[in-house]
Symmetry: D2
Subunit: 289 residues, 4 copies
Amino acid sequence: MDKSRKPYQLVSLEWKKEPTVFKVNNAEIGGDNFNLIAGPCAVENEEQIHTIASYLSKKGIKILRGGAYKPRTSPYSFQGLKEEGLIYLKNAAIANQMSVITEVMDTNLVDKVYEYTDIFQVGTRNMQNFQLLKALSKTNKPIMLKRGWSSTIEEWLLAAEYLLLGGNPNVILCERGIRTFETATRNTLDLNAVALAKTLSHLPVMVDPSQGTGLRELVEPMSLAAVAAGADGLMIEIHNQPTEALSDGRQSLYFDQLDVLMSKVEILCNTIGKQVDYRKKENEKIFEK
Amino acid sequence: MDKSRKPYQLVSLEWKKEPTVFKVNNAEIGGDNFNLIAGPCAVENEEQIHTIASYLSKKGIKILRGGAYKPRTSPYSFQGLKEEGLIYLKNAAIANQMSVITEVMDTNLVDKVYEYTDIFQVGTRNMQNFQLLKALSKTNKPIMLKRGWSSTIEEWLLAAEYLLLGGNPNVILCERGIRTFETATRNTLDLNAVALAKTLSHLPVMVDPSQGTGLRELVEPMSLAAVAAGADGLMIEIHNQPTEALSDGRQSLYFDQLDVLMSKVEILCNTIGKQVDYRKKENEKIFEK
Amino acid sequence: MDKSRKPYQLVSLEWKKEPTVFKVNNAEIGGDNFNLIAGPCAVENEEQIHTIASYLSKKGIKILRGGAYKPRTSPYSFQGLKEEGLIYLKNAAIANQMSVITEVMDTNLVDKVYEYTDIFQVGTRNMQNFQLLKALSKTNKPIMLKRGWSSTIEEWLLAAEYLLLGGNPNVILCERGIRTFETATRNTLDLNAVALAKTLSHLPVMVDPSQGTGLRELVEPMSLAAVAAGADGLMIEIHNQPTEALSDGRQSLYFDQLDVLMSKVEILCNTIGKQVDYRKKENEKIFEK
Amino acid sequence: MDKSRKPYQLVSLEWKKEPTVFKVNNAEIGGDNFNLIAGPCAVENEEQIHTIASYLSKKGIKILRGGAYKPRTSPYSFQGLKEEGLIYLKNAAIANQMSVITEVMDTNLVDKVYEYTDIFQVGTRNMQNFQLLKALSKTNKPIMLKRGWSSTIEEWLLAAEYLLLGGNPNVILCERGIRTFETATRNTLDLNAVALAKTLSHLPVMVDPSQGTGLRELVEPMSLAAVAAGADGLMIEIHNQPTEALSDGRQSLYFDQLDVLMSKVEILCNTIGKQVDYRKKENEKIFEK
């Protein structure tokens, strides 16, 4: 990337020197805030999403993730509950005073997803679905733009430029791992990209360590690494019964693992001057064994 | 890929042992046929596409490519002439008794593109746009499915499975290069994938050496390599004034370069028992210097 | 690669416009010659290498490959017969009037390997072993420089520049596949690199489709693709009992597969004006089924 | 990686449950220790290395890095001062009561480098130089094994297995970035690999954020991320005049940048229970702006 001649403008720190900060109901995103978004990969049934949302809201989590329309490599895999899933997700969020983030896969679904979600998620496969970006840029709801798994940082910022140019300033960049030759992890989480994006853009940058590693046991260390690299938030997959999950069970945390992760993230955020958006009463010395 | 337990079915050679062959107007695709599709990256104006189509049809080329809706990395790049481009493209094809292939970027555009095209092209960024695949699977026009630039061969075949499962059997696979660490070429053309796809599937497999190399001077040798690897056709970018092209000029052939390429491809096809679908009167010993 | 300011000189076509041609005993390499080098991945015992060499020499193959010092990912894998392997290999070659090519892994082994080999092979892991390159550049035997599996074309040419700068002009470049995200094939054979190297350098460029695919059934189509892309030769793994091979059995040809491959390569070479260096009496229409 | 059937043994946590801890003069490596190794990419002259060593030792840094034999892509680039460089490096270290780490590029250089170094560094290009690994395994000095830029985690651990199997237990793994499609950063620092290696092996794992990013401004955030991901140390490039450096200037820190980095690393280490091996009198709240 020739840094002297940037191909984007609206997303750049030179264009706007203050970090982009915006509210989603009771959550504030960007600036000194650090958000933790959590939920299952897919909404599987009403009970599952209510169980998870209830747990998360008790922990202070304010934004609930969950897929209703799922992009799946195979046509024979579970494709999501679709509108039924959106309804369950929304109801679970309302019942627990949470906001919703869910993926919109296609221009035809923008209106429907709009009814139920608080934040649109653009998935990794759609980072360069330019018709979808243009449609979303005309809505008034925030957008999380996941990095394409083989997209450069410059392409990612240019995709965000489509959103800002279309009129929607409330964009979250989300690094979720890139595709490399390594096979021990599902993706290679590129924290360089987080640190670099923070020097190039005023937009908040979050990290998805669940997709970024594919391995439950790496979610905690890579969450902490993301905090230290300068991320503004995390998006975590969690499940009440990971081994029974219809998708991505191998990378979903157990409830008690999230609890530990939240404590450590909070301590780290305190250390580096970020404000976590979830309440934790006790601030135990959890790093000490 | 564990070859003993294939995750796809309808696209596999085990499911259907005979190669898939179908007609697009006066062109026959698949089996022993070898097709050469050519045209500019983008339809730029009426005169340009007519000039190119007229030249190509005189050479015997039966299928005209040209982009009307262009997926562009930057919102500031030329985005295509849209419906106006489709009209120019269709008129140029009709005037020269050619068929049209053009990219459809979004479910919302399927009906409009259907009016003008003979073959739908699914671009590399949309190989896993599953809503689009599902919509196209319900149409009765053939589909060229370009491989995602970071998609595995298995993911490519599974994307094709979406199309066949939805009811459309007339699918062309098209290898167009993958993204690697190499920067001397725009993409790394993966002819392994062509040879392997031919052992796994009954679908015709074409190659786009223009995208696959990004360099005009490599289009000829890689076209010949594609023929030798077992490809069923080529998709070539050509322009009447490559240095003035609004996009992809660096990889577009000059008219006289296509002429040489066609002669060599024909000789090679004759050698290995493929039938080129364009007429060439003379069969000069063009390989000899 | 900025083509206007090349970082190498001696290997470039601008420096020396005529192709590099040299003899290795009865074989001539470079220019219009097309060489087929064959043999097992590793010399396993005396009988094996004699059986294979005897078969190959009857087919007209002039250069015998075989590993004596094997670079193995695991210390628990078969590491080669070492000097004993060199002796068996040399004797098998002499008995069949063939030349030897074998890998030299380390500066300490240069003198010993020199005694037995006719061509030094620098393996993919050693392409940037600069001390080894410098040592080999001072010998008077030709060197095959395999491309590093994650080396760019420019880095490959610069490694060759070390050899020419040190005083050894007889260098063969060999593309053997690069490491990418694809897992269905062992490597991604990059024929773009072959075509590009031929436009940049006067050195002969060969291809190893055995390493480049990892799958026996892809060796033939990718050999033909290599010929068509402009390669000056092939290096093929073959074994008298592939299923019993101590290494790389999955990618080793059976004897009768090599026979078919040689016929097809010869026909293709005839078509494009290359001279194969092996005799074939009959030139049957083997492409026709 | 099939975790149920590991191809390595001696390096695995199952084989040895306690972390490997060893001393290098006054520095202790592994376990709860966190080491900071620093110095220039290359020893350029006597004054340069003394200036840098003097600065570093005042800061409490105990291990001095510096290249004397430099592996360079081009034969026309500065190749290092060779033995002269080793002498300057050793003298600078002795004068400042520091230990030396420097790269050994070849088996022929093992004895010479042994005289001057306290820790052997195996560079990324030599991770699979198995003859070199075998030679080093027979020495009694610790070895830092940098990950090959395109080597999997499993291959990295297997390379370390060569060292332990040969008899040298004092091995440091060092992640230094892998080669991907991204071009905005020189390499993609793979902290997943650090977190995963810590779950698989008892060996200390360090990180080189200078090579891993190629950009001075990313060295601090990625150093902190490495700490949080569980690394046991950092290896940092620093130069008294980065803009004049003969190699890698773009990624070398200025003196005052290292000062800030050390403070932040110390605070982070305190937070997570690691002991930095350098003294810092003041522990100012440097994260607060």
